[in-house]
Every structure is written in structure tokens, then in C-alpha cells.
């Protein structure tokens, strides 16, 4: 196949000017996107991957952002233009027509006051002058992106359809003017794995049909493996490694890439702890990198637990006494009320769930969004009142406690939330936030002892003593999650519910936090209920796991057994949908692609 270049980015430098300093978000980035090719850009938050794509679209807010140097050459039908130096009015001709973009949040990138059809029709009319029946075209696009019932979707408002359907509408909108380049900025991050799989398949198919070049930006290496031909790994605004997808996965050169590959929890093996990027390299203050180890496989082999160890652990856990017993728990929310304010219909968020948790174990709770796993976690804490059923913690019936008894009880059961950015009061210092619950529950007699304990806890979660007097906004997401963990531990609980506690974090940070959680479990003798939508994380963390769907328990059992031998159709589908990022998968995907090319 002949390689026609579509987009050539040469030595791009994009800077952000703040009051104190100049931040080079993209630093000397060059690559070329060819027709029919998919380039995956991988990197953690702040690596400059999104800024690169926004620069190409001319969507950098100026001020504070500015393209300082470099070219972005677009090979359009009418010749070559340099987008880096194009005035905004000229740029509009190429946006949508030549380059289209889909964003991460399908929930907010559609305008809520217009129907989906209207918005697609608007995009079509904007770029194509006359002679086109816009509605006809929009409906045809809806069929192309495999929306079921396109006529109904055309007339519905964004809030009436699901996240996956919204992302399909977004893709239809991006396709409406038949662009030659599609930039996809984390298009599947906010979606469930099963939906993600469908969207990825759709994108593969659209690319093959329209011969587009796709620039796919994501933090998830597993997704890249299922889709990309070429991979660019970015860190701190620079490209650290780029190359063929198979080469990157089978033989990563840069230690950072090796770290990223190794720190994803794998589904096949059971590890003692996860390697992180710091296992492979350390970065000096001047930015130079010191390599420590070089081989991913040998690192993973060293950390792997033997079958015997795993079996012993399971045996040990199952022999412990029951600490939490949930029986036929139901939590319903009223959807609409009748004239007298009595609920007519109920949303059955948790619908008759029963399980037991043994002391010292980690019970994983996995399911897609809306399956009721979060509601279940909150109901156990009675942050949401249950409709019926029983929750027994250590023989005490939680559902029957009065408000003041419940407050005392909260000392024993703690929760760590998903969003570390908003689960800390922005107007309280870290020290005050951690000490407040200690005071409420009368842990230690005076503030001096409490402060000492808080500082010891902060040090335990790898924070510094000086952080005691800082405010939350001074910390990164990973640090905040550590603070949240320290605060939960401050009241000396025995039972912790982790509600998507690592979902908002980058993979390497996620690995560090997961390792920390595991260490703390053994150190403080804790019991976890670990809730997540990410099956690979849950499987790594938990001894036993529960698969939930539509408020009901689909399957419950030992994590490894469920993964190896799922009995339930839903569990099977869930496991199949996970992008695993194994070499065999990459080979299969590349082969599929080749076959398609031959067919043409």
C-alpha cells in the first residue's frame, strides 16, 4: 500500500505562559500520520498528548497557550498548508472538513438543548453548501455508526440516550464531512468496557471504509494494542519512544515505556506487588534518566506468587470469621411520583444482594456503570438508606442503629472515594482534615498526640511532615488519594470500602496506590471491599470477587476461578471485552487489518 502523508508535525513546541513561569507542554514533537493509519499517543496526564492534538486543531486557548515553534503540515485536497501559522478564520475551513475530533466526555460534548439529529444536521449544513438533504445524510450516518433505531435517536435529546450512543452520535458528527483525519481524545475512557469494545470496533471499521488517518490519544495501553499501527509514548511533553505497535509491546526500549507496560495489573498472573515506573528508572532533578533494570519479564517473574502461596492465602482467608454479613439488601430510588407524592415506579439500584466478608480479606466488587456497585457500598455505610434487608457488622445490625449510634459506628467502617480532587475540603489544611475525625471519635486524649500520629500516618503513606499545614490544591491526584487513605486510617478502622479509589489516577500512580493499599491491609489488619469497574484491577486486588449487573449479583467466588472459568454469560462477556494488551491480541488485530486491506 502506498503511503500518502496526511499530517506532518515537525518540531512542534507549545508553551503555556502563567504568571510565574513558562511551561512547555509540548516540547519538540515530530511525527507523520499517513492515510489509513492509526497512531496511538500514550502518556500519563500532563504528558502533553492532548495539547499536541489541540495544537493540530488550532484549539489552544491563547493566552495562556501559544505555539512557539514548529510546523503542522496538513496535506489536504487543495495542497499543503501549515496549520501552526494559520489565522483563526482560515483554520475554520479545515476544522470539521479535513480534521475532525471526538472528545472524552460524550456527556458534555453534545449540547443538551438540541436534539441529536439537529446537531448532526447543523454540522453537515455548515460545511456542505446546498444540494444535500441534510436529514437524509444524518440518518444514513446514524445507520453507519450502527445506532439502533436511528429515527428515534434523531429526535431524542442527549440526556435521553446512553453514553455509548452519545459517543456514536459524536462519531457520526465527526464523520459528517468525511474528514481525512480523525483525532480521538480518550474517546472511550468514560465508557464501560463492553461499550468501549463496540466503539473501538466501530472506529476500526470506519477507518477502513473511509481510509482515514486516526490519531488516537489514550492513557490505556490496552486500548492502543487493539487499535493502533504505530505508538508514540510521551512523557513531560517529549516523545520518549515511538515505533510499530508490535515492537513497542514486545521489545520496549525506553525504561519509561517498560514501566508503563509493567505497571498495568495483568489478568494472567497473580503478583505480590505491582512494579511501577520507579522500578525501571529514576529521574534526577535535571531531567536526566537513570535506568535501573531493563527487562519487563524478569521483573514480573520475580514478583509472581507461586500457586502454593495463592492457595494458602485463599485457605487462610476462608477460615477467618465473618466480619460483615449482608442479607437480601434492597435499595430502591423513586423515579416518578404520583399526585399524592407516593412513588409510582422504583429504580432498583440494589436488588436483593446477599454476601459475606471474611476478616482480613479483600472482596472485589466489579460491574459496569449503573450496576449498583457504588450504591451498594454506600448503603453498607448507610450514606444511603436501604429499602429493606439486613447488614450485620461484627454482629451489630447497622440498619437499626440510631443516628448517634451510627456516628460512633463510623469509626469502624471507612470509605475511600473515587475523586481525590473533591473528597477533601478545599478550605482545610491536610492536618486539620485528618485530625477532625480523630477528635470526634476521641482517639488520643490531646492534640499533641493526635498530631504525632497524623504525621506518622502521613509518613507511612509516603507524604512529608511539612505537608501537615498545606492545603489540598497543592497536591497531585495521587498524593491526594494518599491523604484520603491516611484520613480513613486515622480513626483506626477495621473495615474499609474502596469505591473506585484508583479509577481517576494514572496507571503508574494507580500501581503505587494499589501497592500501598495492599501493604496497609497486612500492616493494620484491615478488611477491604474493593469496588471498581476495572476487572483487571479488581482481580489483582481481591481474594474473592462479586460480579454485579443491574442491581443483582451475577457471580460470586474466588477471583482467579471466576476469571479462569466464568460460569455466567455476563461475566464471560465482561472478561472478553477487557483490552488486555497481550502480544497475541496485537498480532490478531494486525492480521485482521491486513486481511481487510487485501479484500479491497
Amino acid at each position: 500500500m502506498g503511503k500518502t502523508p496526511l499530517l506532518e508535525i515537525k518540531n512542534l513546541v507549545t508553551e503555556f505562559h502563567t504568571e510565574d513561569e513558562i511551561i512547555p507542554a509540548v516540547n519538540n514533537v515530530s511525527f507523520t500520520l499517513h492515510r489509513g493509519e492509526t497512531i496511538g499517543i500514550v502518556g500519563e496526564s500532563g504528558s502533553g498528548k492532548s495539547v499536541t492534538s489541540l495544537s493540530a486543531m488550532g484549539l489552544i486557548q491563547s493566552p495562556p497557550g501559544k505555539i512557539v515553534a514548529g510546523n503542522i503540515q496538513l496535506h489536504s485536497t487543495s495542497g499543503v498548508v501549515d496549520l501552526a501559522n494559520l489565522p483563526n478564520s482560515e483554520m475554520r475551513k479545515y476544522r470539521g472538513n479535513e480534521i475532525a475530533m471526538i472528545f472524552q466526555e460524550p456527556m458534555t460534548s453534545l449540547n443538551p438543548v438540541y436534539t441529536c439529529g439537529n446537531q448532526v444536521v447543523e454540522a453537515i449544513k455548515l460545511h456542505q453548501k446546498g444540494g444535500v438533504n441534510a436529514k437524509e445524510k444524518a440518518l444514513q450516518l446514524f445507520r453507519e455508526v450502527k445506532l439502533s433505531r436511528p429515527n428515534e435517536i434523531f429526535k431524542s435529546y442527549p440526556h435521553e440516550i446512553s453514553g455509548g450512543q452519545k459517543q456514536r452520535v459524536m462519531i457520526a458528527m465527526a464523520m459528517s464531512c468525511e474528514p481525512s483525519i480523525l483525532i480521538a481524545d480518550e474517546p472511550t475512557t468514560a465508557l464501560d468496557v463492553t461499550v468501549q469494545k463496540e466503539i473501538l470496533e466501530l472506529m476500526n471499521e470506519m477507518q477502513y471504509k473511509k481510509k482515514m488517518g486516526i490519531l488516537f490519544i489514550t492513557h490505556d495501553l490496552g486500548v492502543i494494542a487493539e487499535l493502533a499501527d504505530k505508538v508514540i509514548v510521551m512523557n513531560k511533553g517529549r516523545i520518549v519512544e515511538s515505533g510499530n505497535v508490535l515492537d513497542i509491546f514486545s521489545n520496549p526500549q525506553h525504561p519509561y515505556t517498560r514501566g508503563l507496560l509493567a505497571c498495568r495489573p495483568t489478568l494472567k498472573r497473580r503478583l505480590k506487588s505491582l512494579p511501577t515506573t520507579s522500578t525501571f528508572m529514576t529521574q534526577n532533578n535535571d531531567g536526566s534518566i537513570v535506568e535501573i533494570t531493563d527487562d519487563v519479564q524478569s521483573v514480573l517473574d520475580k514478583l509472581e506468587l507461586s500457586n502454593e502461596q495463592v492457595a494458602n492465602r485463599i485457605k487462610h482467608v476462608l477460615s477467618q470469621r465473618t466480619i460483615l454479613k449482608v442479607q437480601d439488601l434492597k435499595t430502591y430510588f423513586p423515579i416518578n411520583n404520583n399526585f399524592f407524592g407516593k412513588p409510582k415506579r422504583w429504580l432498583r439500584a440494589v436488588d436483593g444482594v446477599s454476601f459475606e466478608v471474611f476478616e482480613g480479606e479483600t472482596l472485589g466488587l466489579v460491574g459496569e456503570s449503573g450496576c449498583g456497585k457504588t450504591t451498594l457500598g454506600r448503603t453498607i455505610l448507610r450514606l444511603i438508606e436501604p429499602t429493606s434487608g439486613s447488614i450485620q457488622y461484627d454482629g451489630i445490625e447497622i440498619t437499626e442503629l440510631s443516628q448517634s449510634e451510627l456516628r460512633k459506628m463510623r469509626k469502624n467502617i471507612q470509605i475511600i472515594f473515587q475523586d481525590p480532587y473533591s473528597s477533601l475540603n478545599p478550605r482545610m489544611t491536610i492536618g486539620a482534615a485528618i485530625m477532625e475525625p480523630m477528635r470526634v471519635h476521641g482517639i488520643f486524649d490531646n492534640d499533641v498526640d493526635r498530631k504525632d500520629y497524623v504525621i506518622a500516618l502521613l509518613k507511612r503513606v509516603s507524604m512529608k511532615e511539612a505537608h501537615f499545614y498545606r492545603y489540598p490544591h497543592e497536591f497531585s491526584g495521587g498524593q491526594r488519594q494518599r491523604i484520603c487513605i491516611a484520613r480513613a486510617l486515622a480513626v483506626k478502622p477495621r473495615f474499609i470500602i474502596c469505591d473506585e479509589s484508583v479509577s481517576a489516577l494514572d496507571v503508574s500512580v494507580q500501581a503505587e496506590v494499589l501497592n500501598l493499599l495492599n501493604e496497609l491491609r497486612d500492616e493494620f489488619g484491615l478488611t477491604y471491599v474493593f469496588i471498581s469497574h476495572d476487572l483487571s484491577v479488581v482481580k489483582y486486588m481481591s481474594d474473592r470477587m462479586i460480579v454485579m449487573n443491574k442491581g443483582k449479583v451475577e457471580e460470586i467466588g474466588i477471583a482467579d476461578e471466576i476469571y479462569a472459568n466464568p460460569k455466567n454469560a455476563y461475566t464471560k462477556k465482561l472478561i472478553d471485552s477487557i483490552p488486555k494488551g497481550e502480544i497475541e491480541d496485537i498480532k490478531a488485530h494486525l492480521k485482521r487489518k491486513e486481511e481487510r486491506q487485501i479484500v479491497i
Partner: protein, 411 residues
């Protein structure tokens, strides 16, 4: 770039200081004099009570000439020798600041005037009145906005936090309803004379009396609530849901839909006279709905934040969650509202005083000064200077409000 707030606060502070120390800057009484070997500080006494009298040799000194013609052992006059309350008989009937005027020593001087901003019909100095007018206007403004904010934030926070799910025991609810009657009776009805007497003595005494009454009122309700809860526990009467949000929102709607001027006129007619205290209360009562609405909205927004949920999960009390976690985060918004509200209260007071239904006749406020300009439309100095001062104060408060909101927004 965020705009600075420093200069606005500095100008406001200077205005406050100047108006507080007005009796020392401009006064017909000396700052200090020595007579019969006794030291006197009449201007400083004016700071505390502008209506005080000094009796020397059995004679009450009140007119400017009395003060001027005393044979002092030693004396220190104020820089400007016009009192806010004193009349100047030589310069009555609207002396323009630009025209000649008769000086204290009896001589007539061309061009320059002794009254740098002119006089009104009775010969009051406009500059001296302006300075003390700022003080009274700000005092009335502050008092009523504090009243309004306290009431509004309390009610707004309660209605936003509990919404319509406030479970209360049947016994407790009945007890509270019953308690209102005796609480009112013992708190206010039989103490009404004590309160009125207190206010006739001075404002501080009156406020203390009111606070004492409130204490009795709240105390009686508390005792009844406690009894009600006991009854609930003993007989297990069960809980009913009190729709506290609807209730408070309803009251807010009623209060915000009644025009305050009509109430003020009516109340003035009933009480048979004008009173600063009643004005403060009325201004406060007519502006709290704004704060209640804003607070309710903020509380509803912040209640959904994960850190509120995590505070609940940590076992922190509801009252502490409201104050330490919700209200403290609502503070930027509320500060802005208070700054804007202050401007509008100031304007309302001016309007009422201009219509002669606000402050009593002998209290000088900026609005009351404007009113005296209505008597003689050619006396532009009675309109322009107080008007400009009202404009300046409102401008300052609006700017401060604006900039607080800008600064507290993390961009």
C-alpha cells in the same frame, strides 16, 4: 491578572475614620480647654454622645457664641470650627460655599466661605453634617445587613441542608408549637417596657435588653423541645416528616414579595414616630430573603460534593458539617452578596430618609441631608455633596463585592 482590592478598602477605611473622628475635625466646641483649673475635652465627649451638655458656673453651654466667648485659661480648637448640630445664626438661609460669609470673628470676607460646603436653612454646616452622616448611614447599613445576613444564612442553610426530609418526633413538634406562646409572652410581651426603657437610655442598653429577651425566648423553646423529646421516647409516638424546605422557602417568598416602603410607612404610622432601631429592623427584615436564597442554593450545590459525603462517613456531626464544611466553602459567595447588599441597604435608607419616613429628625444621615436640599432647589450643594458621597460609598461596596467574587474564583 486579578484586580486589587487594597485601594478600595483603604478609601473606605479612611472615610470610616474621618466620619468617626468628625467631632474632632470640625466642631464648634474646643477639643480641649482649661477652666477653673479643671481640664475639659468636650469634642471627645461628642464622639460618644453628640447630645451631651456641659455645665460651667451653673450655665449650660449650647450655642457657638457661648463657647467662643468663654474666658479660658488655655484652649485648643478643632481645625474647622463648625459643629454638625450647631446652628450658625450669621450664615442661615442656604449660604453657598462659593459666596461670602460672616466669619466667627464678625468680619465679612469675600470669596472664601467659613462653611466650605455651604449651609442649610438653619445654618447647619454641610461639611460637618456630611462627615457625621457617613457614620450614621454606615451604622444603619451595617446593623441591618448583619441582621439580614444572620437571619438569611441560618434559614437558607437549614432549608438547603435538610430539604424536605426533616424527621421530627410528633411530641417534639407539638411541644415546639405550644412553647411559642409562653416564649413570646415571657420573652417579649412582659418585657416590652424594659426594652423600650433600655432604648430610651441608649442603644447599647436597649440591644442588651433585646438579647436578654431572645435568650428567654430560645430557652423556653429549648425546655419544651427537651420535654417533647422525652415524651417521644417514653411513648414511642413515632416521627413525622416536616417539609422544612417548603416552609422556609414559602416564608422567603412572602417576605420578598412585600414592598418594604409600604411596611415602613405603616409601621411609622403605628409607632407614631420615627426610630432608627425600627428602621434597622425593617431594612434587615426586608433584605434577608436574598441571603436565604443564595445560601440555600450554595448549600444545595456543596451538599453534593464528595467531601461532604466523606465527612459524613467519618462520623462528623451534622451541625459541624454545616458550619465547618459547607458554610465555610459558601463564604466567598456570601461575602459578595453581603457587599452588594450593603450598597442596596444604604440606598434604601437614603431613599426612606429622603422621603422623611426614615430616621428621626435629629439624626443626620446622607439621605436626610438630601432631603433638606429638596426645600430649596437652588442650593445645589445640599444635593451634590451628599449625593456624591452616597454614590462613592455604593460604588466602593459594589467594587469590593465584584473583586471578592473575582478573586475567590480560581481561574
Amino acid at each position: 491578572m486579578k484586580k486589587g482590592i487594597k485601594w478600595h478598602l483603604r478609601i473606605l477605611l479612611i472615610l470610616l475614620l474621618v466620619s468617626f473622628f468628625a467631632p474632632i475635625i470640625t466642631n464648634n466646641k474646643p477639643i480641649y480647654f482649661k477652666l477653673n483649673d479643671i481640664h475639659h475635652f468636650p469634642a471627645f465627649k461628642d464622639l460618644i454622645n453628640p447630645n451631651h451638655t456641659i455645665i460651667i458656673d451653673g450655665r449650660v453651654l449650647n450655642s457657638s457664641s457661648d463657647w467662643r466667648n468663654m474666658k479660658y485659661q488655655s484652649v485648643l480648637w478643632a481645625p474647622l470650627r463648625n459643629g454638625a448640630m450647631a446652628r450658625d445664626p450669621h450664615n442661615q438661609d442656604f449660604q453657598s460655599p462659593l459666596k461670602r460669609s460672616v466669619y466667627n470673628d464678625g468680619k465679612i470676607k469675600e470669596i472664601t466661605s467659613q462653611h466650605i460646603l455651604g449651609t442649610d436653612r438653619q445654618g447647619h454646616d454641610v461639611f460637618a453634617q456630611l462627615l457625621s452622616g457617613i457614620k450614621y448611614s454606615l451604622m444603619i447599613g451595617f446593623s441591618s445587613i448583619i441582621l439580614a445576613a444572620a437571619l438569611g444564612i441560618l434559614l437558607g442553610a437549614v432549608s438547603g441542608f435538610y430539604q424536605n426530609v426533616y424527621k421530627i418526633g410528633k411530641g417534639a413538634l407539638i411541644a415546639i408549637c405550644i412553647s411559642l406562646l409562653p416564649a413570646w409572652f415571657y420573652g417579649f410581651s412582659i418585657r416590652s417596657y424594659a426594652i423600650i426603657d433600655g432604648f430610651q437610655e441608649n442603644a447599647i442598653n436597649g440591644t442588651l435588653q433585646i438579647l436578654f429577651s431572645l435568650l428567654i425566648f430560645v430557652g423556653i423553646i429549648k425546655i419544651f423541645t427537651w420535654l417533647g423529646k422525652r415524651i417521644d421516647k417514653a411513648f414511642e409516638l413515632g416521627f413525622i416528616n416536616f417539609p422544612i424546605d417548603n416552609f422556609i422557602t414559602g416564608i422567603t417568598e412572602i417576605f420578598s414579595s412585600v414592598p418594604s416602603i409600604i411596611i415602613v410607612v405603616t409601621v411609622a404610622a403605628i409607632t407614631g414616630g420615627k426610630s432608627t432601631l425600627i428602621l434597622i429592623i425593617l431594612l434587615g427584615l426586608s433584605s434577608w430573603p436574598v441571603f436565604a436564597r443564595i445560601t440555600r442554593g450554595e448549600v444545595l450545590r456543596l451538599k453534593g460534593m464528595p467531601y461532604i459525603e466523606s465527612a459524613t462517613a467519618l462520623g462528623i456531626k451534622k451541625s459541624k458539617i454545616i458550619t465547618h464544611h459547607i458554610l465555610i466553602n459558601a463564604m466567598p459567595t456570601l461575602t459578595v452578596a453581603i457587599a452588594f447588599g450593603f450598597g442596596s441597604v444604604l440606598l434604601a435608607e437614603s431613599a426612606l430618609s429622603f422621603l422623611n419616613i426614615g430616621v428621626p429628625d435629629h439624626t443626620i444621615t446622607l439621605g436626610a441631608l438630601l432631603r433638606s436640599g429638596r426645600e430649596h432647589i437652588q442650593a445645589w450643594w445640599l444635593i451634590v455633596f451628599p449625593g456624591a458621597m452616597i454614590f462613592l460609598l455604593i460604588y466602593l461596596f459594589n467594587q469590593i463585592g465584584d473583586r471578592i467574587s473575582e478573586r475567590s474564583n480560581p481561574v
